[in-house]
């Protein structure tokens, strides 16, 4: 595959790890693929996968975290020049903090033999990802401890992300539900302790299996977790997800590059335009668009507004989970103030879908700086009050100190990112380490904590809001003049002024609006420091008006997977405190 446009700024063309891999495995075992993902992409044979994983985990400056793992149905992909033959691909993205770079390992699979060794032994958080790949593509992972569906109900037929699985409701027979079908579905939801290797009783105790959710006041959405209890002590637990699954990745394959933007808003529904950012940045990398400084500043400003908004929701509900009734109302007062600003600038509240390929939807309205100033002058005193009234409260401290604590090492093992990782003392904030959208121009600190307990995760987010206010203030004071959208033929929607010149411009405009931009075949990827951790979009274009494969990696998914490792031996109230402190929304988990 050839790259026609120049690599975007900051992209690297060679990495030390490529040499190290070649030295160890030899050139025959590896195929390197050139992409715009800003990381080395290497294909290895299925038989050598485990060796490669072991090597990467043990190499100098090791790849400590399995950041993402998913699959691609390659059967309909037309532009695969120079790549190994594959019907299906499984890709593994590993992250090294010491190198501050990633590597993507891909394995080609044939349709007739969809089996691949599980890497749970090397990276424990591969567990859920491998189950999801099985669920979505029907690829079996040999040696996996519990190979079942995870997002779809266990009674489901077919594997939704396969290209031969229909994407539209009209392609199915009309839906009907019989009594029998309902009973079967109900029966399938029953929890079977033996299937998870749990005992129902020991010689001197019978255990209670408590079904917490999917409807429970503190489950933060349709999330179910089954607890094995001895009294109120949690011996073990099994999180069950998928109740909020909408198939966003499948939808991306049927939407134009432009019309998928509103769907991204709904991934982490507390993040608003923050969700648009990784998607449009990844599309811009594919299209080779450089956005204007003004557009970058506007994007950063609005994304940070939503970070504050999301953290306020976190704070209110987190304290409510600890039994404090009032803070959530104060937090919602503040959120209303944030929404007034957001609404005036974007025209919407929760789901503005406001970023565009190449910039934002429209320029800032008159008087926007007055609104922003009003908000950033209001917030600091409120944050101090939250800290004084709640985080200094003896009961809050007693409920949260040393509760559900984990170390940096455990955080890496489980793929924990964002504030939950920084609460263990790891200084890793993408805005600093891998600046995107102009974050390198801003002066702000990355708050850190050291204990990695519930208290630290709460405190850290209050401090993050203060830092976000600093960034917003800098945006306000130094907002560059100029266009709010790049001057590039692939931006959406195309500028109207250029339409009515002559018939050619009219036709171009018509095509750009109706089926949208056509992007050259390539792969790109953008990670951002979203409200809850690292969120990324890994896009594969096959030279069409739509994405061939859109992988949405969300932070909440691995955070939920980690719960049993943290909660064993805790009490039910500790679990509730931990659930509050993770800061997840189920839309972000299930997509």
């Amino acid at each position: 595959m050839t790259v026609e446009n120049a690599q975007p700024a900051g992209a690297q063309s060679s990495w030390a790890i490529e040499e190290e891999l070649l030295a160890f495995f030899g050139p025959d075992a590896l195929t390197f693929q050139v992409t715009r993902t800003a990381m080395p992409v290497v294909w290895v044979a299925r038989e050598r996968l485990e060796e490669v994983m072991q090597f990467l985990k043990g190499v100098r400056q090791p790849y400590v975290m399995l950041y993402d793992l998913h699959g691609v149905d390659e059967r309909l992909r037309t532009h695969r020049d120079g790549l190994p033959d594959a019907d299906f691909t499984v890709f593994y993205q590993l992250m090294s903090l010491e190198r501050n770079s990633d590597i993507m390992v891909k394995v080609a699979l044939s349709e007739r033999d969809l089996v691949i060794p599980s890497i749970v032994r090397h990276y424990p958080n591969a567990n859920w990802y491998e189950r999801e790949v099985f669920d979505m593509f029907g690829i079996d992972f040999s040696g996996h401890p519990h190979m079942t569906r995870i997002l779809m109900p266990s009674t489901w037929n077919g594997h939704p992300l396969r290209k031969d699985y229909p994407a539209r409701a009209t392609e199915f027979d009309p839906y009907s539900m019989t009594m029998e079908g309902q009973d079967q579905a109900q029966e399938a939801l029953k929890f079977d302790p033996e299937a998870w290797g749990m005992k129902r009783r020991t010689d001197d105790a019978d255990f209670m299996f408590l079904n917490l959710g999917p409807n429970h006041p503190s489950a933060h959405g349709a999330f179910r977790i089954v607890l094995q209890l001895d009294g109120e002590e949690i011996l073990d637990c099994v999180p069950d997800i998928g109740y909020h699954h909408r198939g966003a990745e499948k939808m991306a394959e049927r939407q134009s590059w432009h019309s998928f933007i509103p769907y991204t808003d709904r991934i982490d529904y507390t993040g608003g335009v923050m969700n648009n950012l990784p998607y449009v940045l990844a599309v811009e990398k594919l299209a080779g668009i450089t956005v204007t400084p003004r557009a970058e500043f506007i994007r950063v400003m609005m994304a940070e507004m939503f970070r504050i908004n999301s953290h306020l929701l976190f704070l209110g509900t987190f304290l409510q989970d600890l039994g404090a009734m009032s803070p959530v109302f104060y937090a919602f007062t503040d959120r209303q103030k944030a929404y007034e600003v957001i609404e005036a600038i974007t025209g919407f509240r929760m789901h503005p879908a406001w970023y565009r390929i190449g910039g934002v939807a429209h320029d800032l309205p008159n008087g926007w700086d007055r609104l922003i100033r009003g908000f950033i002058d209001w917030m600091p005193a409120r944050l101090d009050e939250y800290e004084r009234a709640m985080m200094d409260n003896a009961i809050v401290r007693e409920r949260t100190r040393d509760v559900a604590a984990y170390t940096s090492r455990e955080a890496f093992e489980w793929g924990v990112t964002g504030p939950n990782l920084r609460a263990t003392g790891v200084d890793f904030d993408l805005r600093k380490k891998r600046p995107y959208s102009g974050y390198e121009k801003f002066d702000f600190d990355v708050p850190l904590a050291s204990n990695g307990d519930v208290f630290d995760r709460g405190m850290l987010r209050i401090e993050e809001m203060r830092q976000s206010l600093r960034i917003i203030r800098q945006c306000m004071e130094h907002m560059p003049a100029g266009a709010y959208k790049a001057d590039h033929p692939l931006t959406t929607p195309p500028p109207r002024e250029k339409m009515l010149q002559h018939i050619e411009t009219l036709i171009t405009h018509f095509l750009q609006v109706s089926w949208g931009p056509v992007l050259k075949p390539n792969e790109s990827m953008q990670m951002i420091e979203a409200t809850k951790g690292i969120n990324s979009y890994y896009l594969t274009s096959d030279g069409s008006t739509m994405s061939y494969r859109t992988r949405i990696r969300t932070p909440s998914y691995p955070h939920l997977q980690q719960i049993p490792a943290v909660m064993r031996g805790g009490f039910v109230p500790d679990l509730i405190a931990h659930l509050g402190s993770i800061d997840f929304v189920m839309a972000d988990v299930d997509r």
Partner: protein, 328 residues
């Protein structure tokens, strides 16, 4: 009209008084749901119920109507008899305790010489309501709630009794009227400050009010022991809790703040003011405090409150003995 002897008249007056106090207790308990919501709204930068009637004052009527028309559903897996009995006990035991409270010199249902002991007995019976509800619901959340409730109530009742023994020792009686008159020189709040503190804590715990609402713990057990109740049965738990709040507030006013006594204003006003103040305090607790963990609540009770009440009782006894005139 020969049957209208003074005894009969006294009896009739007593019965009327009793009925008035009973109704007042029930109505104030029910009305408290409205008062609490308005107060919470006020403290939380919002309005609270303000749509039905002037300032929302008829909210209670609307709530009652709704509750009466709700389906009074008993789960098929529940133990019907015990399930029905539980809310009755919850409401009745606390209502009966109002009997011993002297409201003014002339008002009060019964002037028992075992006054306080009767309250302790009723508080003890009240545990059964939660226990029965949790057991009969055949629901895991209800069971956990009932477990918490019975453990908590039992351990807090131990020192609730002891916390009042100082008051009893100083007055030399269990009779509530005599305790009030014994406070003529000085309210018990001053010599019995630690008794007051521990009784307040125990009172909050026994009525399962926040921050000791472990048995209900919405965020953890999603309402705990009464999770399966609906309609009027649930309403009785609900009103029962508020009656508990009124009762404990009235007891605090009577035992530590001189009951109806006070200058200038009539006794009934003083009694209502003092009681109302402590009711507000209960609501403020709920607005201000998070919920401690259940096992910490227990250890706080056993390891801190219980020793404190014992020391308080010892010191009170020593002081009384020192001040007592020599008998020999």
């Amino acid at each position: 009209m020969s049957w209208l002897t003074p005894t009969v008249i006294d009896t009739v007056i007593a019965v009327v008084q009793a009925i008035v106090i009973l109704l007042a207790a029930v109505v104030s308990g029910a009305l408290l749901s409205f008062v609490e919501r308005r107060l919470l709204g006020w403290w939380q930068d919002r309005y609270g119920p303000n749509r039905v009637g002037p300032f929302g004052s008829l909210q209670l009527a609307a709530d009652m109507l709704k509750m009466f028309f709700k389906e009074d559903w008993i789960p098929v897996f529940a133990d019907r008899k015990i399930f029905t009995l539980a809310p009755v006990i919850a409401m009745a035991s606390l209502l009966l305790s109002f009997m011993i409270i002297p409201i003014t010199p002339g008002w009060g249902v019964a002037d028992l010489n075992v006054g306080l002991l009767f309250f302790f007995a009723m508080a003890g019976v009240n545990v059964y309501a939660v226990l029965f509800a949790g057991y009969a619901s055949a629901n895991k959340y209800a069971l956990l709630g009932a477990l918490r409730a019975s453990a908590q109530t039992l351990s807090y009742e131990v020192f609730m009794g002891l916390s009042l023994m100082g008051v009893v020792a100083m007055a030399g009686t269990f009779n509530m009227r005599d305790i009030v008159t014994a406070q003529a020189d000085m309210w018990n709040i001053i010599p019995q400050f630690f008794g007051f503190c521990t009784f307040l804590i125990a009172g909050v715990a026994v009525t399962h009010r926040s921050p000791f609402d472990q048995p209900e713990a919405e965020q953890e057990l999603s309402d705990g022991y009464h999770i399966e109740y609906s309609g009027m049965k649930w309403g009785m738990f609900f009103v029962g809790e508020y009656i508990g709040v009124v009762l404990i507030s009235a007891l605090i006013a009577t035992l530590f703040f001189g009951g109806w006594t006070g200058p200038w204003l009539p006794p009934i006003v003083w009694f209502l003011l003092k009681t109302g103040f402590f009711i507000m305090l209960f609501v403020l607790f709920r607005a201000a405090l998070p919920r401690p963990r259940y096992d910490r609540v227990m250890s706080f009770g056993w390891k801190f409150c219980l020793p404190l009440t014992l020391i308080n009782l010892l010191v009170t006894g020593a002081v009384i003995l020192l001040n007592a005139p020599a008998t020999s």
